[in-house]
Symmetry: C2
Subunit: 404 residues, 2 copies
């Protein structure tokens, strides 16, 4: 049997470790002949952009792939139509047949699981034997059912590390200051919540943490800052990029009417820079905003060893599922114990994950809506443990990359 | 003899290693009794904010201090008046005498060296025996005479690492994209130039690098991008925050007239976000800007071992200078060989460094003004070598910090 594997959605620091797990387990199986990579996921596959993984990989490259950020096989955002009568489906299956593909494994988030779901339903409809499996990936950690997503632990570790670093920097001067750190997560606040791990003791920075799961009020925000400034000189505040007010309006959309250039084009700004300005105007103190931006999902030097290993194991589990003849499933991580931290892997119906989001639950957010709880720390801390050993040349990280 | 030490200006990831060198060498000398730290530099000293270093530090704490980012003794921006008849001078010397201070060592950049210069000139004027010495520090690397500044190597390593990481992320999708990374350096482009170390081969990202030393032209920038997009799909471009046009106007000030809110207040934005908008409007392709921001100077996990050691050695050299009775000097790093990389330390008259800036020289900038040369790589690469071992608890970095 031949296997096709693809990556889809936003890259993470761990998505390639899942690919490494798939390749490693496939190479270990006598039942799997050739592993093909779909370059740019299902979108590239439709253009016959296929990469022969057997010809390229050896043990050393698989090892290097584990700590390589970005999507090694390149990615796409290419939703398949809901209508299974769409001509794209027979086209895809014709291409699968041409390469004798017996199983397709897609590494991705919510949208990618929808792709797996639709392809498997089309296969069932036409009685095609190809298996379709999903391997979870997202820094947002918003896939349902699964305890946590590969990619999240490393991103959370980057956030906690930088927030702690920034906290060391901002307290240098005598004058009071407010620093607002904007963190990824448009709908789910998992990544923003991880900033609490930077806090060393009660009252340490980050003093406030605002998630998109609960309404954000500017007045309440000002009151928090006013209170915070009575306790300490330098406030570090973490906000999710997706915070919204009680009417559901994104804070990043505030002031958009005035924020246009001479051609009438709107500037696209994050909520951090908007809050920075509002705080500066209100409190007349030194205020800055920092958007952690892309390094959140690609800074290999902050990888969590637990995350990278789990991502790898998810890939291995997908190959095991293929060999077991499983279909229309996503690999799931289950936390079976927290002290000591221990997980196992299972399969869940991909239909149950497709296009569904998991939010930070109420018990992990303090009633004051400006902080997260001990329950969250217990949940998140095990996921950032351990460092990976990244390969270096001239003291800079070296990664695996194909030209395409 | 008692010693007073202070830190001044923006913190770096290496400034505390210089302090560790000073403390370590002072503890080793039988001639030095008590080492005092001026909290918040000369500003805090005027308020009697003095910290007894002997009582606090042991070997373990000195070791931890070496890899701790931020200014351990807190910092200030507090220029002393040029007029040596100002009453602030007798006030400072009265306080020095009260603690029997025989030498004051100030760790800082250009402005701090001006402070050292003025204090030593005042001492000479009144015939006071206190010695004044400077230890260089700045991520901007813009102090004159010295081969390079402690703090620069670690910041350069952070920049090169993140630019390489971001380069791995941005090439995931099929659609073309432009990513603009904004790097610290308002007048000198040393830190922005270090982004070239992320380039693995000719034509690799970052494709273009723009420094403040040469005029920036939007038209030329557009032409560069147009040309770049014929060669590759995803352009990564590095710009210094301080790029200016031929008339000396900062790009970050472009569009400021329209960029006001309903109260008429100006938004303060970086040049990255302005260029992002201009590129988006012109090329109608996916464009994003990333400001590397504070982590450039506080990300301990990207410290250069060479930098941290040299910073430490500069501190040791300052104590040696004190014991030799030197006055009005700054510790200087001299590169005596590049292959193998080797430095020694000397002293230079602080007058020659005070308020002077060193810019990236013409031979390190390509005539096209959009890239840096091999000469720069030869200069910079030795400075980022080696990793430090940062102490961790729960897999997050732990640092040394005093409550004050």
């Amino acid at each position: 049997m031949n296997i096709l594997v693809g990556q889809s959605g936003g890259p993470t620091a761990a998505i390639n470790s899942s690919l490494a797990g798939i390749i490693s387990a496939a190479f270990d199986s006598s039942k799997i002949e050739t592993v093909y990579g779909a370059l740019h996921g299902i979108e590239g596959f439709l253009d016959d952009r296929v990469f022969n993984i057997n010809n390229y990989f050896d043990f050393e490259k698989i090892e290097l792939l584990k700590t390589t950020p970005g999507a090694f096989l390149k990615s796409c955002r290419y939703p398949l139509p809901e209508d299974l009568n769409d001509p794209i489906y027979p086209k895809i299956f014709e291409k699968l047949d041409m390469l004798w593909i017996g199983a397709f494994i897609y590494i991705g988030g919510n949208d990618s699981m929808t792709t797996v779901d639709r392809l498997s339903r089309y296969a069932k409809k036409i009685g095609h034997p190809c298996l379709f499996l999903g391997v979870p990936k997202t820094v947002d950690n918003d896939l349902p059912i699964i305890d946590h997503c590969p990619g999240y632990g490393s991103a959370a570790k980057y956030v906690a590390t930088q927030v702690r670093n920034i906290g060391m920097d901002i307290c240098a001067y005598k004058a009071s200051s407010v620093t607002i750190v904007e963190i990824m997560g448009r709908h789910a606040g998992w990544l923003t919540a991880s900033s609490i791990l930077a806090r060393k003791y009660k009252g340490d920075n980050p003093l406030y943490i605002y998630l998109p799961e609960v309404p954000f009020s500017i007045d309440r925000f000002f009151a928090d800052i006013e209170d915070g400034l009575t306790k300490q000189d330098d406030l570090l505040i973490c906000v999710s990029e997706g915070i919204r007010d009680k009417d559901g309006k994104f804070i990043s959309e505030y002031n958009s009417a005035v924020d246009v250039d001479s051609f009438g084009h709107k500037y696209l700004k994050g909520c951090g820079i908007i809050l920075e300005k509002l705080v500066k105007d209100k409190f007349k103190i030194k205020t800055r905003s920092i958007e952690l931006s892309l390094p959140q999902r690609c800074a290999a030097e902050c990888q969590s060893a637990v995350d990278i290993q789990e991502a790898f194991d998810c890939g291995v589990s997908a190959i095991k599922a293929v060999l077991d003849g499983e279909n229309a499933k996503m690999v799931c991580i289950n936390r079976i114990s927290n002290t000591p931290y221990k997980v196992n892997y299972s399969l869940i119906d991909v239909t149950n994950t497709a296009n569904k989001e998991k939010f930070v639950p109420a018990n992990m957010i303090l009633p004051s809506n400006n902080d997260v709880s001990e329950e969250f720390i217990d949940y998140c801390l095990p996921l950032i443990q351990g460092e990976t050993k990244i390969k270096r040349e001239n003291s800079l990280p070296t990664y695996l990359q194909i030209e395409c």
